[in-house]
Amino acid sequence: MAKVKMSKKATSIDMTAMCDVAFLLLTFFILTATAKAPEALPVDTPSSTTQTKLPETGLVMLTVGKSDGKEQVFYGMKDRAIRSGALDYMAQKYKIEFTDKEKAEFALVDEFGVPIEGLKQLLSMKSSERVKKGVQSGVPCDSINNQLQDWIQAARKANIENGGTKELDFAIKGDAKEFYPQIKKVMDILQDQKINSFNLVTGLRGKDY
């Protein structure tokens, strides 16, 4: 009888410790994972075989895409400190006063695509309403009203003021179907400010391409 009991006990394993460890790791990964914010201008990036990842900080993203048949450029800054610094510069330049609440709200905006005149209205909206189609019409970047250039300049100034030792990185996230002249226009705006090196955001392509 005693022999039979022993063999039965060997089949049961104490799972408590394993469960503890598993949930500890799970908690860690959930907390470190960043939720993907809904994109204001969804683009389908082309794929490439490069393995370099985009930098996490000190990045300015210029999204070039098409919405409602119109070419649009959206602008996004990764660091919150740079966001508020850049807004101050833009407010000064375009003589628009922003309240503290609006400034705080702007620091949370990942990406936007409105002229500075319409920024107040955008900030008063809920974040779920902002990503609706037709709400944001793109940052003006033509030769008469080149706000994109001013935003880039503002971000660079804010970066220096923040004591940033590294130059900002600029990334262009273009839609694969976008025609070359549109991309070139954005590149030219960057190059006009002597930014000659930037990143092109791409997806990952299979090895056997």
Partner: protein
Amino acid sequence: MAELNTGDGGGKKGSKKVRSKKSNSKVDLTAMVDLAFLLITFFMLTTSLSKPQSMDLGLPDKEDKKEPEKDIKVDQRRTMTILMGKDNKIKWFHGLLEAPEPGGAPTDAVYGKNGLRKEILKRVVSIPQVTGDKDKGMIVIIKPSKKSTYRNLVDVLDEMAICDVPTYAIVNDITPEEQKLIDEMNK
């Protein structure tokens, strides 16, 4: 603590009361651990894989046209020009358009492994042998036309990275002769 309920019929058939109490205190954690590890795997993979890739691109300084530009003479044996047209069409030639190198007359090609890459790889190897200098490798001139897409540009730049082309440049001025070729291709 937590053990598998193996339903041991170990003797004592009479004491049913005691046995039921014991099995209540044990919880089967196997399914819970399964679930936890599944979620861990999911979060681990999504955190590191969701970061987008990026391609570094350096462009030459824009000159303000104050100084007269100095033409740098480049051996035409080293240059391959890629003209990008609409609808993913592509045309390339090796050397000068008027006097192409042997086997380098303007040819249509497709993107990818069996099209453009073959031609580039062939020349990446052959050009240093022709020039007789390892440092004088291939130069690729990429000319995207107005109708080419961003995907085409990234594809060609990717091709440069795959083939280890030592020098390449995106050139925006297209000569009238080249424009003719592009118009022909776009038809």
